[in-house]
Structures are given as C-alpha cells and as structure tokens.
Amino acid sequence: MTSLVDAPASVQTAIRPPAPGRRRSRRTWPIVALLLGPSAVLITVFIVLPAVYGVWLSLTNTQLTGFAARNPQFIGLDNYTYLLASADFLASLGQTGTFLFWSAIIGQTVLGMVAAVLLSRTWVRGKGFFGAALLMPMVVPEVVASLTWASVLATSPEGTLNRLTGLFGADSTAWLQDFPMLAIILVNIWRGLAFAMIMFQAALEDVPAELIEASRVDGASAVQVFRYVTLPLIRGPVFLYLLLTTISTVGVFGLVYFLTRGGPGGQTTIAAIYIYERALQFSQIGIGSAASIILLVIVLVLGVVYVRLAKVQV
C-alpha cells in the first residue's frame, strides 16, 4: 500500500528533460543491458508474463488435476459466458463492490479526511502521539491485523466489541457469523484510515493558509470553508487517493480470508477470494483466470473514471 504513494510523486521526475551529462551513444548499450537487463528480464518473466498467460488461460479449460490438466483445450469465451451467468460470481462482484464502496470510498476517505483536517489545526496538542497512534493499524502485517480483530469480534459476551455494545444494553452478537460483511468493512476501514490521512495531510499542506484565513474573516464557518475552499483545491489528490485505495482494496485478500475464509455461506467471498477458491482449491484454472481478467478490466475502467473526474475542474 505504502509503495503506491511514491509513484505519483516520481512521475514528475520522469517528465523532466534528461540531466546534463547523460550521453547518447552506441557505446552505452552494452552497459545499459548489463545494468538494467536483469531487472527487465525478471519483470517480464514474473510480472508481465503472468498477466499475458492469464489471458490465454482464461480462454482454455485448464485444470490443476484430472484429464484437462494434461491436455487443456482452447474453448473461446466459454469461461466468460459461464461466469457472467453464474450467480456465485455475480454475487462475489457485488460483495466486492459493497466492500469497496463502504470501506474504502466512504469509510477510509471520510475518517482519513477528518483525521487529516483535525491534525492540520494549529491548536491541536499532541499531534505526534495522535499521528503515531493512527499509523499503527497500517504498519503491522496483515496477519497480525486480522488476529487482533478476531479477538475484537469474538462471539463470547466478553469479546471487545460485545462488551462495548453491552454498555448500551445490546445482547452479545456473533459478529463474524451474523454480520460478516459489516465486520470486514470495519476491519478494512481500520486498516486503511492511516493511508488516507497521509495522502490528505500532504494535500492540505499545499492549500494556502491566507485563503482559509480570508474566508474565515469574511464570516464563513469552518464547515463552509472546508466545503467551498479547501475541498475544491484538493480535488486532484482526493481522486488520486480514490484510485489508489480502489486498487489496493480490490487486492485485499489476507485480511478477509483470515477472518472469514469467504463465509459464512459465501457472504464475504470478495472477488480475490473467489479467484483463489476457484483456481487453486477447486482447481478450475481457466475459470479463475477469466474471473481475474474481468476484475482487472473493472479496476481499469474505475481508474479511467477517477482520472476523468479528477481533471474536470482543475
């Protein structure tokens, strides 16, 4: 997740004209091949090839075991027509959408923005402590994050969340059985809040303080200033964040798999888990690959939409 942050900032360095002292000559080719060649070959084999091979696999009936494992056949778009008519797959896409919308686009964005705006106030004391505490969920490994929440969501009346709701007089609930989607949305908000906060803090730093002060002097309330001055100015970074969080949320696997393994009754089989189950547990490589390609296309379409939206008024 963190690694995605670096990409946009570095884009600008690439657009810069080549630094002086760089020489273009025939003699550079051997040394470039020597230095960059291994990276280029490895990236091709372990990143590009899987993507291309995935497209081919999605057009075959490849299996991990059985007859089709030895002799896979080209079957055209059969896997795609199967998937698009499959209630399980469509339900899985729907769950991915629900998970993405409520956890990333609403939850992380709103809470991350609240945290970033509050921490940008001059009157807040203890910013170091607040910032460090909010970063904790992001820096621990996925498996530890899941483990902590397994205890919070524990079914017994002494589970942390049940104790909390018990304060308000509610009966104890088996959160991961009765409200599995709500539970994983909550966990993913917790996990991704800090990334949103970091992105928005960086964006807010670029908003000129005089503009905010001028609006305040003109009698605008804090909420009005945020809505009409700050938000339009950070529109670009907000959509960039939405793009990055969409990619990483669609790629969430371990966090959900650890807690629910897609259950109960397939209620939390988000697309990543659907692909894993189909391809590697039911050994239907072809169908799993077709599902991967459909997911990839959806992410790309969303990406284009965000980029368009970000540019409208900037």
Partner: protein, 292 residues
C-alpha cells in the same frame, strides 16, 4: 468520551491570550473528542495481542494478564515456531538484498543513460502497480510450477524481489538523479573506472533512498500472505504469516498465548527496522545539510 477529552482541551483554552469565542471552544472540544475516538478505534484492537502475549493463561478475549514471559519461551522452545521465524527472516532478507542489487544497477542505468525506450520502460513499470496481486496469482503459480520453482524458498524469494522491483527502480532512479554527475566525472578524470566511481562516489551518498527502498521491500516481503500461501505447500518452508494463519484456523484447540506471542515476535522486526531506518534517515539528511 467527553469526560476524557475535555480536560485536555481546557488548558489550551486557558493559556490563550486572546479569549476564545464560545463557538471556538465547542469546535475544539468536538475536535479533541473525534481525535480521541479515532485513536481508541485504532489502538484498542491491539489490546488483546499485547496482553495475551504476556499472559500465562491467555484466552480468546481481553482480560488482565497473569503476567509472565512463558509464551515467548514456548515460542522459542517449540519444535515448529522457531523455524517459521527463520524462514520469514531468510525470505525477507534475501528478497530485499536481491531487490536492492537489481534496483541499484537498474536505477543507475535509468538515471545516467539516455537510451531508446527509457521513458516507455519507466511508464510501463509504473502501470504494473495498477494490477491487483490476486488477479495474476493463478497464472504466476502455473509458471512457477513449470519452472520448478513452486514450493521452494528461492522461488518465493525471486517472486517477492521482482514484485517490489518497479517501486525500487523508480526510487533508485530518483535518488541517483539527485547525485551530481560532475562528482562522478571528476572521479573518472582521476583515473577511476565507471564501476569504481559508482562504488566510491554514488553508493555512499544514496543511503537515505536505499534505506527507504529497503524498508518498503522488507515490509512488503515480511507481511506478504497471498504469495507464500499459494506458492508453498511444504510445512517446513512456511513463513510466520502462514504459520500463524494455520495455527489460528486448522487446529481444534487454539493455543492463544503462543499465538499472541508469535504475533508480537512477527511485528517486532519491521518495527525495529522502521525505528532504525527513520533515525538513520534523519541523521543522514541532517548531516548532508550541515556539510552543505
């Protein structure tokens, strides 16, 4: 909640020279309440792992611990768990070393030479970040099986080193860009070879960029769950991530104390590395500013 945050808001209000309007006081109080709630939301889930790790009688829920380090001694004396830690260390350290070696060489080439296809290469590897990992894992698994690299540690190390390579290349390219080429040229005129100049001039000054790249790669590899889950079937090769997952899901009776202690052991290396690299980064950038 209000009771907790009001005292912290009060001194701020009191020490102000200009008296605050009541509406400001209310806004600040609400601000502190929200911040405290967010912090509680972020920190409370960790209570179980921290308390249970030092609890001789740990269970699935948060309770006051029967304080002891017995879970940690069990972690290191258990027949299975130390191997998980060793595997995790081998995988993360090797993949980071390989990633950095490739990244430094490639980043130097991308920064110092203008060759055909350089811009295309940079943007192509940037585009790779758009692809979610679960979308390529199936084809990657089959390729690894065909290359006889599935279910081996070196196969996993190779995959993880390469998956972080686009980011490392970008970072190292930017870092080398910031080193004046004149320094290198001076070394060449003093009779140094190109590689000699890289070793003596470039490597010593790219520490902070290298540290950042190393930390990102190490944490990515250390925390990775999906790739080892798919690529490794042999129990003796499991890293901590998979070992913890199996211990949580596949045993009838979960050993909560051991699980929590393993979780703490699992969190420590990236935490220590983070603190160390951060301090080092601060020092080196400060040193550069003072010398400059």
């Amino acid at each position: 909640m209000t009771a907790i945050s009001n005292p912290s808001a009060a001194p701020v209000v009191a020490t102000r020279k200009r008296p605050l309007r009541p509406v400001d006081v209310v806004q600040r109080a609400i601000g502190y309440v929200l911040l405290v709630l967010l912090v509680l939301f972020c920190l409370v889930p960790f209570a179980w792992v921290v308390l249970s790790a030092v609890d001789a009688d740990a269970g699935a829920i948060v309770k006051f611990p029967e304080f002891s380090f017995v879970n940690f001694t069990r972690f290191f004396s258990d027949p299975g768990t130390p191997l998980l830690l060793v595997n995790s260390l081998v995988i993360a350290i090797s993949s980071t070393a390989l990633n950095l070696a490739l990244g430094i060489a490639g980043g130097y080439a991308l920064s110092r030479f203008a060759f055909r296809g350089r811009r295309f290469f940079m943007f192509a590897i940037l585009l790779i970040r758009v692809v979610p990992a679960p979308a390529t894992i199936v084809a990657l698994y089959l390729i690894m099986v065909n290359l006889q690299l599935a279910n081996t540690l070196h196969g996993l190390i190779l995959v993880q080193a390469v998956s972080g390579l686009p980011v490392t290349l970008w970072l190292m390219k930017g870092t080398v860009d910031a080193v004046p080429v004149e320094l290198e040229e001076a070394a060449w005129t003093d009779g140094s070879t190109r590689l000699g100049a890289i070793r003596r001039i470039v490597l010593p000054v790219i520490g902070p960029g290298l540290g950042a790249a190393a930390m990102l790669q190490f944490m990515g590899s250390w925390g990775d769950f999906l790739t080892p889950l798919v690529l490794l079937q042999n129990q003796d090769l499991y890293p901590l991530a998979i070992g913890l997952f199996r211990a949580f899901t596949e045993r009838n009776i979960v050993d909560w104390g051991l699980l929590a202690a393993s979780g703490i052991v699992y969190v420590l290396p990236p935490a220590i590395l983070y603190l160390f690299v951060r301090k080092h980064l601060l020092k080196s950038s400060l040193g550069g500013a003072l010398k400059g």
